[in-house]
Amino acid sequence: MTRRYALEGVHVLDFSWVGVGPITTKYLADNGADLIRVESLARPDILRLAPPWKDAKPGIDTSQFFASYNTSKRSITLDLGKPRARELVLRLLPWADIVAESFTPKALRKWELDYEHLRAHKPDLIMLSTCMQGQTGPNALYPGFGQLMAALSGFYHIAGYASDEPPCPPYGAYTDFIAPRFAACALLAALDYRRRTGRGQYIDMSQYEAALHNLAPALVDYFASGRVAGPAGNRSERYAPHGAYRCADVDDQERWIALAVASDGEWRALLEVLRDPSADPRFATMAARLENRALLDRFVAALVRERDADALAAALQAAGVAAYPVQNCVDIHRDDNLEAFGFWHWLDHKAMGPSPYEGLSYRLERTPGELRSPAPALGQHNDEVFGGLLGLDAAEIARLKEEQIIF
């Protein structure tokens, strides 16, 4: 029988919150894994309290920040600080193939829900713990967000115009968008290892250690030669010109084009498109252009300043030169290429109504994943999970709610 989704039949019990954990487990949920998020009003996922919100109004169920990372998932609520909640977790545990969590290391130990305790109940469990700096070491309890991690793991330092100026960091919690791809690989490979061997295992992911893979060449270089990579603006040793150049404003908004020229042939093609016949010898070869970079940047900047960024990018691409407008967050929502890939989705969220979700940046042709449902409201699936899956009767569920165990 052919399956509809890649991960049909995989069950995930997900205690993770904020960015890395939920983005990781979203890969599983969007591909058919049945995923139950364990949340609590006692310690709500801080993304539920973060903008943007529906109509710019804060609410526990109206954050698109939270919604984007939690499609295709179910939500139950349990105040894990209470012993009766722990019992319910242990009753759910046999159902789960994978447990994921992203607290600072001591939280689950305190509740006796860490790997050592859980595997006593389920020996072949696969469990992912992801936190800032890993479960061990002197800084294991380091609290923080991906914004700080991006500074700690070197990304702020290589972002900027020049080494004598302050850094210009990437937007937001940059490493939160590196670690999940490694963590998802870890879980999927561990699932396969268990299929082959029957053995589960524990995965301790330091977001710091995962993120450093995106800086690997600079680290290898430092250890080998002592050279410290720094901010270099848009300067490249591979392409010239290479950068972002301002084009004509549109509706009083700045427009820029990003372009990169990889060869002398591409350079001549660019001059053709820009109708510049000057053939300045200082720019004739790649070596010369790299040598005269500052001059080259001014030359290109002047040539494109009055051009329309969209039309120019299309013309350069038609001539075989890599170029694209520098897009803002309005532009990406009306981008023809993202549209053709089927990237954007409007899903009808229980509390938010139709809302804009990022789709998948991959497509499995035979078993495509999809946003199977919008993000859950907090505790939206309490009755179906505690009633259906665990078989508690309505009166008991009501009592657990009253005692703020289901909370």
């Binding site: 973060a50 914004q147 990437p170 490694f182 561990a190 893979h213 820029w256």
Partner: protein
């Protein structure tokens, strides 16, 4: 020793800098990853900078870092014999990842349909800059161009100055890691049903996935965010994220709120007060409810407090080094990190305590190099680079001879006609 996590599986890696990390992740997890390169080498071998600044196909730091643990063979896809070799390799493999222009493999008679006919189990992953459907499906890519197209570039840099790329290009790394995830998503049903599939990665969309909460801002809050240097502006207020100190910069988030935020602010203010840098209002403040411009809109009063706070914090940090500030911040549970350089990272106590970096013998270069180690610690199947990056075509005999069973005479003939 190679990891057992994916041992027994083989990936053919035909990706350039749009996907080198895919095969690297697989190799770290113990798969047999064979880089299939043109006779003049994968373009990644020519990416600067080079070890000791000596340009050479074995000395690109990019290739050293991202081809560690892989094997290398050469073949020429322009020749029928070269294409036949790839077909033979596909019969013996589980995964193929490539980043050719859309349609290139189809035109060469090696598209997914052909690969699946040779080996129905194959998972064929294609990394594309702008997808395989839209008007830009044949567009050329450079890392900076997809970074711009995906919206990340517009948000980096100072107002009025050019938007920025990271000085170590990132777009291809995101696409490569995404390709690894998607390949493994296809692996799971393949091992149950025995049938692989074609997988397509959209690199531009991978960059959109780095924009955090920004994508929906224009739709839900009515406006988009502009780049503002060292500031964070998601809720209409400028919050400074980077402060100078004696020997560089540190980053901190000056916001309270329940839990770690309030602990952090209280710890910082107590520390500043002890050194005579805190204002009275800061000492008296209840930080548990103070999160303006981070989680909520700021009032005029908030903005005055923010300005005073940021100025005092800046004066305070200017009296110390990164290392001094970070050590005390950890002790006081302040949300703070140094703006670390490669030197700081190499010397970091936490990474040392976890034995993060690994030394890899590069006998071909006559030295040992240090690489990032396990991307995660697995209790049953430790991962990480098991050996150095290969020289160009280093494993031709091994792979063509032992794996494909090609005899010496035919190998010599293939060499002579330039197929290898």
């Amino acid at each position: 020793m190679a990891s057992q996590l994916l041992s027994g599986f083989r990936m053919l890696d035909l990706a350039d800098d749009k996907g080198a990390l895919c095969g690297k992740i697989f190799a770290d997890m113990g798969a047999d990853v064979i880089k299939v390169e043109p006779r003049d080498g994968c373009p990644t071998r020519r990416i600067p900078p080079f070890l000791d600044d000596r340009p050479d196909s074995d000395r690109s730091l990019y290739a050293i870092a991202y081809h560690a643990g892989k094997r290398s063979v050469t073949l020429d896809l322009a020749l029928a014999d070269g294409r036949a070799l790839l077909e033979d390799l596909v019969r013996k493999s589980d995964f193929l990842v490539e980043s050719f222009p859309v349609g290139y493999l189809d035109a060469a008679g090696l598209g997914y349909a052909r690969l699946a006919a040779l080996n129905p189990r194959i998972v064929h992953t294609s990394i594309t800059p702008f997808g395989d459907q839209g008007p830009g499906r044949n567009y050329k890519a450079a890392d900076i161009v997809t970074w711009a197209a995906g919206g990340a570039m517009f948000l980096m840099g100072d107002e009025g100055r050019p938007p920025l790329e990271m000085s170590l290009p990132q777009a291809g790394l995101h696409a490569g890691a995404e390709a690894a995830v998607a390949s493994l998503l296809a692996h799971y049903p393949r091992e149950i049903e025995g049938v692989g599939q074609h997988v397509v990665i959209d690199m531009q969309a991978c960059i959109v996935w780095t924009l955090m909460n920004e994508q929906a801002m224009p739709i839900l809050h009515g406006d988009y965010i502009r780049r503002t240097g060292v500031h964070y502006t998601a809720t209409g207020t400028r919050r400074k994220l980077v402060y100078s100190c004696k020997d560089g910069y540190i980053s901190t988030v000056l916001a309270g709120g329940s839990g770690v935020g309030a602990t952090s602010m209280k710890g910082l203010v107590e520390w500043m007060a002890a050194k005579g840098f805190a204002a009275q209002w800061m000492v008296e403040k209840d930080w548990r409810t103070w999160v303006p411009g981070i989680l909520m809109l700021a009032t005029e009063r908030d903005n005055e407090e923010i300005a005073d706070l940021e100025e005092r914090v800046q004066r305070f940090f200017d009296t110390m080094t990164k290392r001094e500030i970070y050590a005390e911040a950890i002790a006081r549970r302040i949300l703070l990190a140094p703006v670390a350089t490669a030197a700081d990272i190499a010397d970091d106590e936490q990474l040392k305590a976890r034995n993060y970096f690994v030394r890899v013998d590069h006998d071909t270069l006559g030295r040992t190099l240090t690489l990032p180690g396990a991307f995660a610690k697995f209790s049953a199947t430790p991962v990480g680079p098991a050996r150095r990056a290969p020289r160009l075509g280093e494993h031709n005999e091994e792979v063509y001879g032992e794996l494909l069973g090609i005899d010496g005479a035919r190998l010599a003939r293939l060499r002579a006609i330039g197929a290898i």
